[in-house]
Symmetry: none
Subunit: 252 residues, 2 copies
Amino acid sequence: MYHRYIAAKEASSAQRTRVLIIDAAADLLAASASGDFSTREVCDAAGVAAPTLYHHFGDKDGLLREVAADRFSRYLTRKQALEATGDPVEDFLRGWDMHVEFGVTNPALYTIMYGRPMDGRTGPADHAHAVLVTKMRDLERAGRLRIPAETAADMVASAAVGVTLHLIRTRAAADDHLSAIVRDAVTAAVISPPAVPGAPPVTPQLVRAAARLEAEMPHGPVGTLRASETTLLREWLAQLSALSSAAGGDPP
Amino acid sequence: MYHRYIAAKEASSAQRTRVLIIDAAADLLAASASGDFSTREVCDAAGVAAPTLYHHFGDKDGLLREVAADRFSRYLTRKQALEATGDPVEDFLRGWDMHVEFGVTNPALYTIMYGRPMDGRTGPADHAHAVLVTKMRDLERAGRLRIPAETAADMVASAAVGVTLHLIRTRAAADDHLSAIVRDAVTAAVISPPAVPGAPPVTPQLVRAAARLEAEMPHGPVGTLRASETTLLREWLAQLSALSSAAGGDPP
DNA sequence: GCTGCAATGTAGCGATGATACACAGAAGCG
DNA sequence: CGCTTCTGTGTATCATCGCTACATTGCAGC
């Protein structure tokens, strides 16, 4: 009746109804207290009938996934302009804050994305994780990562999701400092400090000595050092002994 | 018909049917792939009719909460005997591992407990968090906490839940080292080193290697290590190399 | 203009969470 | 024992839910 003129103007009518349904579902989801909606509500709000919804999204879960993906990517792209700092570490920190902020301001969508096991199909959470892995690879390429990029991405994702869900569950404010604390703790565990300011004096003897000590290190606590300290010590020794040749490193 | 005799033997018939329903729901939940069940399934499996279920648990959500609380507390008490170490730090680490293990082995229950916003009423997650806070207070009283106990509990809970949900979401194995890494990272950020440990195993080779590396250590930042880290590393190396004589033996 | 295809409305199915109502059996009391 | 009362349970049913078979509409290409 009426879509004809709109359809003729720009996008296909099908795409129009798609975004119509997605918008209606997102609005209902944001307004709902239970974090859920019925397909009938969505159809009524969007002005379409049930088969239209299922024709476009397959089932309710497909709609949920598309809504989450749409809103999440929209949120990211809207704030992406702020991520223009050349520093990958700064980008990483901003990415964390954006992630948490999105979750706190969109608890229903976030819970759908991260609060339940995957149902086989890939969702927006997988896409976000892929982006995170590339960010970690950037850091790795810049020599700022203590651990493999994939492991770092898993650590960061776990901690960020945990904090966000905790804030959602406890109804805590978004500006709570919990996110910052955990973020810094994870950062300290994942990201190494900038290469070296001056000229790092690393002699082959030091590297050999570090490798020797690393080989001698047992797995439990050593001497007066606690287990956690031993872990950190072993990690540092690995870094030092890995410096073998390319030690003198030159800043770009 | 038949419960009469059982009921007469010990507990009230009402309590019997309660645990009957809870067990049936837990079994169905563990067997279900979707992480959900229908009240009809539960009633059939428990051998009761629908009004009985609603008479005891109010609604489906009440049943879910009671099932989660029952299984979680059962899991904790079953493993609580292993938490007999006097060291509060060790207790904390074991608590973390137990938490993650429970989540990975009971993904459906865990998702119900932590994967969605609180619906006003208190659930098993709140109880678990209260236990965690008391543990953190123990650490605080032992002078092993860098930050307030409540903040530490929030950090630990966030990270542990995040890791567990990540493992559930990615279908990763329970023995994945991700949990250990995040756990150690959080531990390093929350717990301060101990006063004095016991008598750990130290080989003469390790002591010599530590002394050698200590001699090779320069004063500035070394390789990829920050200046502060280098300081700490040098300190630890001094501790290890000082173990030379009194190391292997244990003082009477 | 006719045909094929994608998109949409009408009507309804099966399953689900939840409930109104009545019955059963134990407890208390004469 | 008879009577009442209350908790616990079964029978039957409701409103809603996700979803779909089928018919209809509108638009593209020959």
